[in-house]
């Protein structure tokens, strides 16, 4: 009888042999009881391992695993967006670098972006509505660590819709939304500013279709945004500025 190799014996256990090779191994095993006992044990191991873990195949696949591609894509998209924003900011900063007012530039940009994102919302423009104005102002004040005020713009035809908490580069941001009788919306963005407390003048920035008036008062930056002409927004901005800086 031709001796068989260890590899052939394993291949026999794993069903990887041709019919004729299988017959040869079986003849060998009939004559060699020790090998036969070993191969029987190995076959049992195969069966035991399969019955231990085959049930995993019947489990529902967790949603997190099915969503892997989209989450990877989202991360990529987010990174690309941040990169693009960085280029955009860098470019803007380059233009204004001769003045030390770098932060307000990004303040205007961030406020305009928040305005563009939230003001078209029909069903959920705010997190807390003006019905609960006291709660809203108290909540946002607590989160920003200062006493906030929601300016009263009713004399100009704008009623408070409500507000929400946003996340900004310097931490929490308070976002108030106003609306006039025609559905024209304004938003006020209030965020903590990095660095030493300081005051800046009243500034204007046109961010695409959104006009923004913004200023820094102490540790906080304020930006009023609206999709309207500069002159129109200026009237409101002056009132807001006066109410917040009496």
């Amino acid at each position: 009888m031709k001796p068989v190799s260890e590899a052939e014996l394993h291949a026999y256990v794993d069903g990887g042999l041709s019919e004729s090779a299988t017959a040869e191994i079986e003849a060998w095993l009939r004559a060699h009881s020790e090998d036969a006992e070993r191969m029987r044990a190995y076959s049992e191991q195969n069966a035991a391992l399969r019955s231990l873990y085959d049930s995993v195949l019947d489990e529902p696949v967790p949603a997190a695993l099915l969503a892997v591609r989209s989450s990877a894509w989202r991360r990529y998209a987010a990174a690309a967006a941040i990169f693009a924003l960085g280029i955009g900011l860098g470019w803007m900063v380059r233009g204004t670098f001769i003045t030390p007012q770098i932060v307000p530039v990004s303040l205007a940009r961030l406020a305009a972006t928040a305005h563009a994102v939230y003001s078209p919302e029909v069903r959920h423009p705010v997190e807390v509505t003006a019905n609960e104005e006291e709660h809203l102002v108290g909540w946002l004040s607590k989160r920003l660590g200062t006493t906030l005020k929601a300016p009263k713009l009713a004399p100009l035809g704008y009623e408070l819709v409500g507000g929400r908490l946003l996340s900004g580069p310097q931490g929490p941001v308070a976002h108030f939304m106003y609306q006039d009788g025609r559905g024209q919306r304004l938003t006020l963005y209030v965020s903590r500013q990095r660095g030493e407390p300081r005051d800046t003048a009243f500034r204007f920035s046109q961010e695409d279709r959104v006009s923004v008036f913004y200023w820094v008062d102490g540790n906080f930056g304020y930006a009023l945004s609206g999709e309207m002409k500069r002159e129109q927004l200026l009237q409101v901005a002056e009132v807001v500025y006066k109410q917040l800086n009496p």
């Binding site: 394993h10 195969n46 399969r50 892997v68």
Partner: protein, 165 residues
């Protein structure tokens, strides 16, 4: 690029990962990392080649890297540990929990090979490609893993009993 190509392999990736690491959540983390890497490298996969073997290759690499990071996971010295027999069965039906316990006592290298062969039923050539090791190494690891399991499961006494007077 059809995502269903990869998705239909997830149940088997989960089965292999569960058998390899034991813990359900650690295993699913391994699958998740594997899938992320697979999506990112999908362009490297040659259409028509064995996608399943390719995915096992990725999982192997992720597993090895994770094991390298977690020092306690490095089990290369396990072979040298003294073998302790579970019990001396007379070759009767194997208790599954004992089989699982013995599987955990194998080195990670041996466990990968025996699981890919026994549970995933890859051919030796596929295992060789998936783990990027020569086929001779596949055979020697398989042989040692099986024999170690057999001994620990009591198929053969590991050491002669001392007669205590």
């Amino acid at each position: 690029m059809d995502r269903h190509l990869i998705i239909e392999h997830i149940p088997r990736l989960r089965r292999y990962a569960r058998a390899l690491v034991g813990d359900r959540y650690v295993a699913d983390d391994l699958v998740q990392d594997t899938l992320e890497r697979a999506w990112n490298k999908f362009y490297l996969w040659r259409a028509g080649s064995d996608l399943r073997a390719w995915l096992f290759t990725i999982m192997h690499n992720v597993f090895v890297n994770q094991a390298r990071r977690r020092r306690h996971e490095i089990e290369q010295a396990m072979d040298e540990l003294p073998a302790v027999a579970v019990r001396a069965t007379q070759g009767d039906h194997l208790e599954l929990q004992e089989v699982d316990r013995v599987l955990r006592s194998l080195s990670a290298e041996q466990r990968e090979v025996i699981l890919l062969v026994a549970v995933e039923q890859l051919t030796y050539e596929q295992v060789s490609r998936a783990l990027d090791i020569p086929i001779g190494t596949v055979m020697s690891r398989l042989s040692r893993a099986r024999e170690r399991m057999r001994q620990l499961l009591g198929g053969q006494s590991v050491m002669p009993l001392k007669v205590v007077k």
